[in-house]
Each structure stands twice: as structure tokens, then as C-alpha cells.
Amino acid sequence: MAVRPLVADIYDVIVVGAGVVGCAVARKLTLEGARVIILEKGLDILDGASKANSALLHTGFDAPPGSIEQRCIADGYHEFLKIRQQLNLPLIDCGALVIAWNEDEHDKLESIIDKSHANGVTNTRIVSAREVSQMEPDICTGAIAAVQVPGESIIDPWNTPFAYLLQALSNGARAERNCEVTGGEFDGIHWVIDSSCGRVTGKCVINCAGLFGDELNNRLIDEPLFNIRPRKGQFVVYDKSAAKLIRSILLPVPGERTKGVVVCRTIFGNLLVGPTAEEQQSRVDVSVDKSILNQLTKRGEQIVPALSGHSVTATYAGIRPATDSKDYHINSKTDLHYISVGGIRSTGLSAALGIANLVFDHYSKLGEPLDPLDPPDRINWPQINSISEYDKRDWQCDDNGGIVCHCELVTQREIAAAMTGPLAVRSLDGLKRRTRVTMGRCQGFYCTARLCELTAGQFDRPLCVSSDT
């Protein structure tokens, strides 16, 4: 059977995977003048590794100096600060404390400072136990000292990449969801990509397939380039009443293996404890485990004792697309017009814009001329509806249609907006990420029924069925 072409056009770039990296890459190349199509196999964007992380914007102070990761985080960090107001992206500029709880950890603080300086993060300093307890009166008294990292910040993990892709679309890019790449051929000039939603032709392919990056490389260029080693991280989220207990992002002194458990606020006004680091085979199994969750709440209560009086709102797990080696894998196959971006672990949210810049450098070497969208007034800057607890929210504005989700104060207008437009949500997960509906303390006790009604006929996997079916 002949495969129907999805579109007759020939794209400059086919981006595979709409996680945070794919969204940032699509944005960058679009703004540089490329005609971009992005293909996502999930029902909605951010459906893989990007759906669950710590939601932090890192400075890269503790990244391995000289690594690609460090370079991308530092670049991504500055780029984010540069564009965030134009896209109306929220940020909590609260800084972090890397806290030493014992003498061994205390001994490592100097080297953390040295590393941060080597990474260009020069405003870090050691603070005494007394200063720590003045800054964070509700944390346990056992801290010996800490490294203060003023630049570390909290951001919206979902509306940020959504904004990147939305900006790409509003400047001419195209996105297809529920569209899995099944194969493809490069004929020396063009890539012809077969997907579950049709055939797409383009001059270059950029693999941003995250947890499935090695499989996609195998499928398209017959070599994996790296091997994904899925590493799960579980989190516990406390109710908004707990957020007042801390101000800074509380980081542990990193051990040999992992960065350890973070305690921080979220942009939505909750308090988060996590992640764990668990190697597993599955790339899709995001199960939480009761005993691990109990360990996390215990750890949280060790650091912030008053947490024991607050309730858990949500639990979740994410999977990092880790690989055999520590650094990112960003390679291009110039002769194949193919760029592969893999092994983007926990720091992907912070590094995405930097990764996109680096990918563009690779792309430039292919020698495909582009007509950039300069001058800047030719670039569209869509404004995101901020759902930060610390910004003015839609429920405070006129004619919002009324609050549907009482815990997260999500209005009917916000839900309607998420279900329209070029990236209209197609699943409950997508709607949750965009609006936070049902993600509060009652987890849908009050609003699920209303949501069934508001979303009826909109989702492939409906929340409920009518009585007559």
C-alpha cells in the first residue's frame, strides 16, 4: 500500500521527539529561518522523560568542568533568563544551599566552590551554620555549613518547553503528535521519514527522542551511537501549606553516584522531595513504590522536621535517559544530514536552550543556507498564561468562567484555552501539565466529574463513559 505523504512540502529540518530538548531545538531552528516539522509519538508533547523532573533551572555550578553538559547548562541558563520575560515564563529566584550534614561533607564544600568557579559561576560562597539557620529557620539544626548558590532557580517544567514549541509554531513550524517514526531513508539529498501519521520529507533529521534515542538511531542510521540506561527518580510532593517552611532549594552534597535528594518549593507553591536514582530496564514504567516513598518522606522530615505535620499531595516518578557515560551525546553525521541528541539526563530542562544552540552550530556545518527571521521584529513572541502560585492568576481576573479545580484554582477559561490552539491538549495528562487541574490535594475528588463533562469528546482516552454506552 502506498504511504500517503503527510504534507507535500519539503522541510529543512525534521525534529523527532517533542520533549523539552525537541521543543527547544524546533524553536531555535525556526527562529534561525529553517522550515521545521516536529514529530511526537505521544498524544501530547512532554510525554516521556520531560514529564517528570525536579523543575529546577540550574546554573551548572556542579557540572563536570569542560563537559558538553556544563557548556549547555551555562548557555541554557543565560538564554532562559534572556527570553523568559518575552514569553512570560515564571521563575522563583530563590537560590540554593548545598548543605553539609557531617564532617565528610563539610570537607567537600571547598571543592564545590572551586568547581563552580571553574564553571563560571563565581557568586557561590560558603555560609556558616548560623547563617544557614537564619536563612532557613525551619530546617533541622544539624547543618554544619553550606555552599550558597544564588543563581539556582525554580521554573515551570511544562509550560516552559510548551512556550518554546508554541513560539516555533507561531513562527511557521509545524507539530504532529500521536505520530511515531517507523523508519526512513536518506537518498543523499533528502530524508524520507515514514511515520504512523504519514510520510515526511526533509533535508535533515534531528533525533531528540530521549528515552528512545538509541532505538531511533538504530532505525534510521543503523547504529545506536549510545545505549540508554533508564534511571527512575521518584518524588513526593507536599501540600501548599508546606511551602512556607523553606525558601532556598536545599541540595545535598553530591555523593559518588548521584546528586541525592533535593528539598525545594515548586513554582506551583508546593514542596517537593526527591528524586531517587534507580536503574531499571523499562523505558516507560513510571511506577512509584510505597517503601521508597516512605523513605523520601522520612528524608524530607529529617531535613525539615515540620514536614511531618503536612500532607502529601502527589507522588510521581520520572525516567532519566541516562547512558553508559556521564556526558551528553550530541553528534552529527554530516554526510547523512543527521544530528543525534542523546543522554540528556536530569539537567535537560536547564540545558535545553543551550543544547538547541549547540545543535544549531552542528546544523550550520551542513552548509544549508537559511534566511534568519531577523530583524527581531519579525519574530513572534507568544505570551504564556503563567500558572505560578507567585504570579497573578486567571482566577483573579474578570470573566474567567469560574474555578473548576478548587485545590489548584484552575478556571474554566484556562481549561478551555488549553483545549484550543495549535497545541490543544489531547489527554488528561496533557491538560494536567498545562493547567495543573486535578493535581492538587484532593486529586480530583471535587472536579473530576466536571472535567468529564468539559472534556467530553476531546480526548482519545476519555475520562469517563456516558451511561448509555
Binding site: 511506577s287 502529601v312 470573566d399 473530576t448 468529564c452
Partner: protein
């Protein structure tokens, strides 16, 4: 459709947050007592609270001397409120509580402030969802609480699944069972960690009659399925794990007060009851605020909440007339045995040694408490070294225990009284 809102003033005598049984009964009683400027703020599109979606009896014995199903009962209460000219503001959310009765509101039209001389918090309860129970597994579709299920079935005529399991065996779990039956949903089993149903023992018959297996001494170890629920792993007391196929899970009961507004505000919250701290007049730590109904603790019947609403109305009435003692000086009430889950009121305001008399009828002339497991023995109220009162109890968990408070603080030698328990 959004209903037209009654005009919300900038200030009023009494604002009531929540139009369930306690909120409505407080409003009706205030009107009867001649307090006119009463405004009830309700975030849902309809008044009546939880009974609106409990499509089964028995509701209304205490209030109407008749037995109704929940929705009929809710309609009766609302009709009574409207007949008494209570101002009901629907689709209006109280977003935060400020000092001295300043409420921040949001409605479909935007936000507003309302300064009330007295605020009665009647925000009720909700069930503990899967996340707060820290259950293992992924997050497939088809996991609901009874409340969510009932509003789907009774308010929107929707079904989230066809053959779920029910977790828990409280009264509300049987309410979930009845809801399923009404909706043509066939629960495969009811899973309870203890060796008997938490509700009443005869309730064993109900699942049997519905073709639902009652699995005692069992709990859910893991949820199976990624996109939709495909089953649950059930572990019994001997550690034997079995898999039960189902397409949904109802996490029923384990109610907690919906005390978010209080928690996020300046008011004191009791970690035991999880509701706001109140005194014997129902006053919170800021005396402009009072509280009644299931917000105080989980969980009582609609009729009990209705009665608390009525009582708090009369103390509000007195307080507006300047007839209540100051809330400044009080005796703390402390549960002094781990089996005691909570005790309320948490404070006793004193007035020249007298806690209640004809001139000072109080909201709470009894201590309300519950135990967390089966308890047989003697409860005692102790002040300093002195035992003021003893009461023999023999009770199951989740049963209401009432202890009469002495009418005078004369015997209370300390600024705290302790509730002790000696098992026998």
C-alpha cells in the same frame, strides 16, 4: 451555565463558607435568631454539599423527622435556606482568610473582598486520595475517590469504569457500593485491611448481595496498568499476594477535613483532628472565625453537622451582641494516650470560672473524641494531679465518643487538662 450571582457586599455581619449541611443550618438558624445580614459563599454551582451526590438514604431524621435520599435532603435544606431569605452566592470561592474576618473571593466575574464581623467555616471533608496513601504503581486512568465517583454518576451521569475494586469498608465504602449498583457498575471486590468491616458488621451482607467479594485482612500492594487500570496486587495478612483483575479503583473513606483555607491562613490547625483549633464556643484562634461541621474532624453524619451548624449560629448570635466571654484566656485540652486520635474542642475559654450557663450556652458542652483502634477501658479527664471525670468505654475505631464537660473550671488547677486512657 453560570448562574447570575447575588450581589456580594463589601461587608456583612456573618459570612458562612460552604453551603453543606452545617453551613446551611447555621445560616437558617441565624436568620431565625434575627441576624439578617448573612451571606453563604459556595464554590460549587449548587448548594447542599456532599449529600447532593449521595443517592441513598438515610438523611434527614434529625432535621425533618423523615428519611430521605441525599439529593432530596439537600434540596430540602436549600429550600429552607431560601425560604428564610439566606443570601446564597454560588460559584464563588473563598481563596484566602485574612485577619479579623477579611475574605478574599473569586467568582466567574473576577475577585473581590468581603469583610465579615464573623465568619463561620463549614468547608467539610474529603477522602484521602491514592497519592496521599502512597500506593505503589503507575498512574493509569480509572482511580477515583467515592466523592468523585458519586458526582460523576449522580450529577453528570458518567461512568469512570465497569468493574472496579473498592478500597475500604467504612460507611462511605458501602455508599460507593450502592452508587455502583445504581450506575450498573459491578465492583469485583471490597478490600479491607482489618479483620472486620469498619462500618457495622451486618454490612458484610451488602457486598454479598451485590456479588462483590469482601476481602478482609487484605490491602492493595500495587496498582497494575499504565494507561488504564488493569488490576491490583492484593496482599493478605499472611503475606500471600494475589492479582485481582479490575478496570478501576475506588479509594473510599479515610476522610480528612478540608481545612486548606485554615492551614494557609493565620489560624491554628490541630495536627490530630486536622481541622482548625476551636474553643468550647466554636471559635478559632482568631475569634472573628468560628467553625462547625466536618471541617472540625472526620467524619460525622450530615445530621450531626446540621446540629453543630445550629449551635454555632446561636453562639455567633450571642457574640455579635457582645455576650460571649473573651477568648483570651483558655485551658488547653490534650490527648494524653496514643490511642486517642483527636479530641475537640482543643481549648476551653473560661469566664469567671463558669464554662457554660444559661447566659452562656456553648457550642460544645461535651468533648468529642475518637480512638484509632478498638479500645476497652477507662477515659479520664485529668487536671494537674487531679482526676476530674472518668468514663468507661468499650468501642471500635471510627465511633464517636462524647464526654460531658464539667460546668465549671473550679477543679481545673492547671492551664491544661489531659485526656488519659487506661485499658482494661
Amino acid at each position: 451555565m453560570i448562574r447570575p450571582l447575588n450581589h456580594i457586599p463589601d461587608s456583612c455581619a456573618v459570612a458562612i463558607v460552604g453551603a453543606g449541611p452545617s453551613g446551611l443550618s447555621a445560616a437558617i438558624e441565624l436568620k431565625r435568631l434575627g441576624v439578617n445580614d448573612v451571606h453563604v459563599i459556595e464554590r460549587e454551582s449548587a448548594a447542599g454539599g456532599i449529600p447532593r451526590h449521595c443517592g441513598h438514604p438515610p438523611f434527614g431524621m434529625r432535621e425533618f423527622n423523615r428519611i430521605y435520599k441525599g439529593p432530596t435532603y439537600a434540596k430540602k435544606l436549600v429550600a429552607q435556606a431560601l425560604a428564610n431569605n439566606v443570601a446564597l452566592h454560588l460559584d464563588t470561592t473563598v481563596v484566602s482568610l485574612g485577619r479579623n474576618g477579611l475574605l478574599h473571593l473569586s467568582s466567574p466575574h473576577g475577585s473581590a473582598e468581603l469583610l465579615a464581623e464573623r465568619v463561620i467555616l463549614c468547608t467539610g471533608v474529603r477522602e484521602t486520595p491514592r497519592s496521599a496513601r502512597l500506593v505503589s504503581g503507575q498512574r493509569p486512568l480509572g482511580i477515583v475517590t467515592t466523592g468523585a465517583l458519586q458526582s460523576m454518576v449522580y450529577l453528570y451521569d458518567k461512568r469512570p469504569f465497569r468493574m472496579p475494586v473498592i478500597v475500604g469498608s467504612e460507611l462511605v465504602s458501602f455508599s460507593a457500593l450502592l452508587t455502583c449498583r445504581h450506575a450498573g457498575i459491578k465492583p469485583v471486590s471490597m478490600i479491607e485491611a482489618n479483620d472486620r468491616p469498619t462500618a457495622w458488621n451486618l454490612s458484610r451482607l451488602l457486598p454479598l448481595a451485590s456479588g462483590t467479594q469482601l476481602r478482609l485482612n487484605s490491602s492493595i500492594q500495587r496498582i497494575l496498568g499504565r494507561v488504564r487500570v488493569e488490576g491490583v496486587e492484593v496482599i493478605d495478612r499472611n503475606g500471600t499476594v494475589s492479582t485481582e483483575s479490575c478496570d478501576g479503583i475506588i479509594f473510599s473513606g479515610r476522610f480528612v477535613p478540608e481545612s486548606t483555607l485554615a492551614r494557609l491562613s493565620h489560624l491554628d490547625v490541630d495536627p490530630d483532628s486536622q481541622g482548625p483549633v476551636i474553643d468550647n464556643f466554636g471559635r478559632c484562634s482568631d475569634p472573628a472565625y468560628l467553625a462547625a461541621g466536618n471541617l472540625l474532624r472526620a467524619v460525622e453524619t450530615a445530621g450531626w453537622c446540621w446540629q453543630e451548624g445550629r449551635r454555632v449560629a446561636s453562639t455567633v448570635h450571642r457574640s455579635l451582641e457582645g455576650q460571649l466571654p473573651d477568648s483570651g484566656e483558655y485551658i488547653r485540652v490534650i490527648a494524653n494516650h496514643p490511642i486517642i486520635k483527636y479530641v475537640l474542642p482543643q481549648r476551653l475559654s473560661i469566664n469567671e470560672g463558669s464554662m457554660h450557663s444559661d447566659t452562656h450556652p456553648v457550642q460544645h458542652h461535651q468533648l468529642q473524641l475518637r480512638v484509632s483502634s478498638t479500645a476497652k477501658g477507662v477515659l479520664s479527664i485529668v487536671s494537674g494531679e487531679r482526676t476530674i471525670l472518668m468514663k468507661r468505654i468499650n468501642t471500635l475505631p471510627e465511633r464517636r465518643i462524647l464526654v460531658n464537660l464539667p460546668s465549671s473550671t473550679r477543679d481545673m488547677v492547671d492551664d491544661t487538662i489531659r485526656i488519659d486512657f487506661n485499658p482494661s
